[in-house]
Amino acid sequence: MLLTEKESKSITDKILSYVKADDASVGAGSEKLSHLRFAQNTFLTSGQRESRNANITVWIGGKRGTSSTNDLDDASLKSMVEEAERIAKLAPIDREYLPTLGKQTYKPVNSYVEATANISLTNRAKAIGDIISECEKTKVIGAGFHVARAQTSAFATKNGNFGFEPTTSVSLSMTARTADGQSSGYFLRSHFDVARLDTQRIAREAVRKALEGRNAKTIEPGVYTVILEPQAVADLIGNIAFGFDARNAEEGRSAYSAPGGKTRLSEKIFDERISIYSDPWNAELPGSPSAQAGLPAQRIYLIKNGVLENLVYSRFWAKQATKEPTAGPVNTIMETTAPISTAEEMIRSTKRGILISRFWYIRSTDPRTASLTGLTRDGVWFIENGKIQYPVKNFRFNQSITQMLAPGNVEMVGASERVGGSEGGNASLLPTLKLKAFNFTSQSEAV
């Protein structure tokens, strides 16, 4: 059902053969998604969806129109092209139009595994069945979601470019709750290779957090030193590499804008222990080999040792600013060049602080300072004199991210590992972070 490269090329060629417009950019994709959801230690829904799609954007005399369809027969593709051209004729001039790219060369990435694309139903059912048995044995109530996805994405332009990207991903997230409803643990991991997804570790960690989180105490909200596990970092800033838009910064409406119509480029805005970059060829976190508009993706730094190294220029904005368009980002990798600390070392060095597993329902409250609100969830522990003392109830926080990562507020950084946001978003490579100050504004009795 997934489109092969040859089939995809045939479709994009066919679409382009129908184009009468001056310029065109087309896409053809396919997806196979298979999931199993469980809760209350029993199976809920499980299903498989196969889908495919095609889309086109055309320009006629600089006017633009876009159309899409999931019918890939000749008549539907032709109709899609005609619809886009009809729209383009009605539209005003697209002042941001730039000719589509000609032929590009993409250095391949390894992000597709056949066993992930064709996951075994019986193996999956047994793996989840085993997890439910473990929940029953440890007297917790388990809920979780196993999902495997295979996708192909092809793109082409009237000016001769073509690219084809097959990818797979598989993830398991699990929540364990104690029977009295007073404690909850969560763990999520993903990979592009199903053989690398450790389902037993995921279940074990979720159950451990639930059991160790029993008898949580209430402590006052306020400013605390915190240790954020990679999941908590992912929930807060998992896709941070995608937030460095040059246009927003230069138009004065971003946390990276500076007074006087300037930007904060080249300023040390984050602690020197923090570097953030994008790398399509990272073996653990392969990204798309193509960036915006089909530019071959490159390894690019957004933050290097705390300094704002790059803002991201779209092709249009780069032309306005007489700069090169940015060949990324395609993923988020946060690392440190400082010595790496383990979570245990971070705890041992903490006089008074809080260990946080996960955040939830995070929303922006002030884009000027990248301020967010949200809550802790599924595992919070109070640390005193270098030891975890006891679990505590959840908090709401209000926290500026630029202040959180500012020079002096990042005390220790762990090794990066692959983790995805629990509220959605792509997986990233992120470390455990120890932060000097983090602002909790109220308590939440939610479990």
Binding site: M1, N41, S46, Q48, R49, N70, A125, I128, T373
Partner: protein
């Protein structure tokens, strides 16, 4: 027998009699899909008979088409105009008390048979490890067609008219001194849904909904400050008349002035305030603090791994004081203009209206056929929904609305009785915990109230509260004249994640002594 898609539509029209689809759709589909076998009743027969033959105790098939059109602009230029369509089917089966589902866009009988077999295979593989069998509440067999209420089909309105409308809005905003940027857009969705179940129901529904919106930005480049004001008018189940009969121009002119005003507005002093919440703001508070916790799947831990559970539990039904005595919430899938309004849900249960909170007491739940038996009920309230042919249907929120005061209380009446307060308009930042106790909401504009009068604009406002404390603090409701029915176009829930459109009718309302914080305050000491 193979049918063309033109035949499919004609046959469906004859079979279903009462359905009246606009003529354009015959032409569009016939033109684009002339050769595909899509006799949906034949496909339904193939799915249901295959499921039965393979041992399914229950099966349904949904054959759905979605049409989408979106126009977006910024300042004096069009950013994008797009249109798309999406067509396919999904088969759901219950085998040995275990659900299985499979979906495909290939509309042939052979594919339906193959996909039904896949759904059964998935259910059968999982049933080996199943701990508790799914049971379904009974439902009446139905044969029906239905069309949502709209006067002017937005897909028939020329794109150029939409572009000109949005650019006119932008021009009105840019005419206000101090406005730096403006974005505006409109999105339209048309769902054509066909459902056939092994209980014998065949239901066809045709829905249209729209989501126009804008954002005006005022940036002070010298200081590096910027403020935005979004539209206060929200998405609705309506046709293009919603554009033509609503004062969008008035709202964007006000928005432009208010965005500029926000740059100079007084920052709020944190503390306790009485709040007057306009329906353009209150609807989202209702959505998060009332709509979600009364979903029975959350209370029964089905959403524990994602959206969360609920502070409400079945034993609290009829007992828990949810709010003050004047607070009444109705769930209503029949409410005019409601985004979640349908005739039947996605398993053929008729749309209904019922109380969730009555005279301040929590009294009932949102249910589906597989949820109702778990609390001893023998009928579903019809809350099953899928956002696509390729998505597994699961419990989703109906319109949940706050009843207005029976007397003609105005917003001014509510303000008049406030010594120290804030009135809030519009949807802002919103966050609530996984059991729906603790929430924090911002807004678009904030107005200080002193001694019963509006004293001026505030900024950086958010309020934090606990759901039952908050609704317990409600001591004033506006009458019908203050009632609006705003809605949200994309409410996320479930795994795999799905989007639902839902409305929340409400009047202006007053809440006493709510904790307000300043979101711009330096947070670290």
């Amino acid at each position: 027998m193979s049918f063309s898609r033109r035949d499919f539509i004609k046959t469906a029209g004859l079979t279903l009699g009462a359905l009246t689809l606009p003529s354009w759709i015959y032409e569009a589909q016939a033109a684009t899909n002339a050769t595909i076998d899509v006799n949906k009743n034949n496909l339904a027969d193939a799915a249901l008979s295959t499921a039965k033959k393979l041992g399914a105790d229950y099966a349904d098939i949904r054959i759905n088409r979605y049409r989408l059109e979106a126009v977006s602009t910024r300042e004096r230029q069009v950013q994008n105009v797009s249109s798309g369509q999406n067509f396919g089917f999904g088969v759901r089966v219950l085998v040995k008390g275990t659900w299985g589902f499979a979906a495909s866009p290939i509309m042939t009988a052979a594919e339906v048979v193959r996909v039904t077999g896949e759904a059964v295979a998935i259910a059968r593989a999982n049933s080996v490890f199943q701990r508790r069998k799914i049971e379904l509440a009974p439902v009446n067999k139905v044969s029906a067609t239905w069309k949502s209420s709209f006067q002017k089909d937005p897909f028939e309105v020329p794109v150029d008219d939409k572009i000109q409308f949005l650019l006119k809005l932008n021009e009105a905003a840019l005419a206000v001194k101090g406005v730096s940027f403006v974005n505006s857009s409109m999105a339209w969705v048309n769902e054509q849904k066909f459902l056939a179940t092994s209980d014998g129901s065949r239901i066809e529904q045709y829905l249209i909904r729209g989501n126009p919106s804008f954002t005006v930005t005022a940036a002070d480049r010298a200081s590096g400050d910027f403020q935005t004001r979004n539209s206060l008018i929200e998405a609705q189940s309506a046709g293009y008349e919603y554009i033509e009969n609503t004062d969008w121009l008035g709202d964007i002119k006000t928005a432009a002035e208010e965005a500029v005003m926000k740059l100079k507005a007084k920052t709020v002093e944190p503390g306790k305030y009485d709040l007057i919440l306009h329906p353009s703001h209150l609807f989202l508070t209702i959505h998060e603090s009332v709509g979600h916790p009364t979903e029975l799947d959350r209370a029964l831990l089905w959403e524990a791994n994602y959206a969360g559970t609920s502070f409400l539990t079945p034993e609290k039904t009829g007992k828990l004081q949810f709010g003050s005595k004047i607070v009444n919430f109705v769930a209503d899938r029949t409410q005019p203009k409601g985004l979640a309004t349908v005739a039947y849900d996605d398993e053929g249960v008729e749309a209904q209206k019922w109380h969730l909170v009555k005279d301040g007491t929590f009294v009932d739940w949102q249910t589906t056929r597989d949820l109702a038996p778990l609390i001893g009920k023998n009928k579903s309230y019809g809350c099953l929904h899928a956002d696509s042919w390729g998505s597994v249907p699961f419990p989703r929120m109906p319109n949940v609305s706050l009843e207005p005061a029976k007397s003609n209380v105005t917003t001014e009446n509510l303000i008049g009785d406030v010594e120290k307060g804030i009135m809030i308009f519009g949807r802002g930042s919103y966050s609530i915990d996984q059991q729906r106790y603790n929430f924090q909401f911002g807004g678009q504009t904030f107005w200080e109230i002193k001694n019963g009068k509006v004293a001026g604009m505030l900024r950086d406002v958010a309020y934090q509260s606990r759901t039952t404390d908050f609704w317990g603090a409600c001591d004033g409701l506006g009458g019908q004249s203050t009632y609006l029915i705003p809605g949200t176009f994309n409410d996320g829930k479930g795994e795999p994640g799905q989007s639902n459109a839902v409305s929340h009718g409400c009047p202006s309302a007053r809440f006493r002594g709510i904790n307000v914080l300043n979101t711009a305050a330096k947070t670290q000491s």
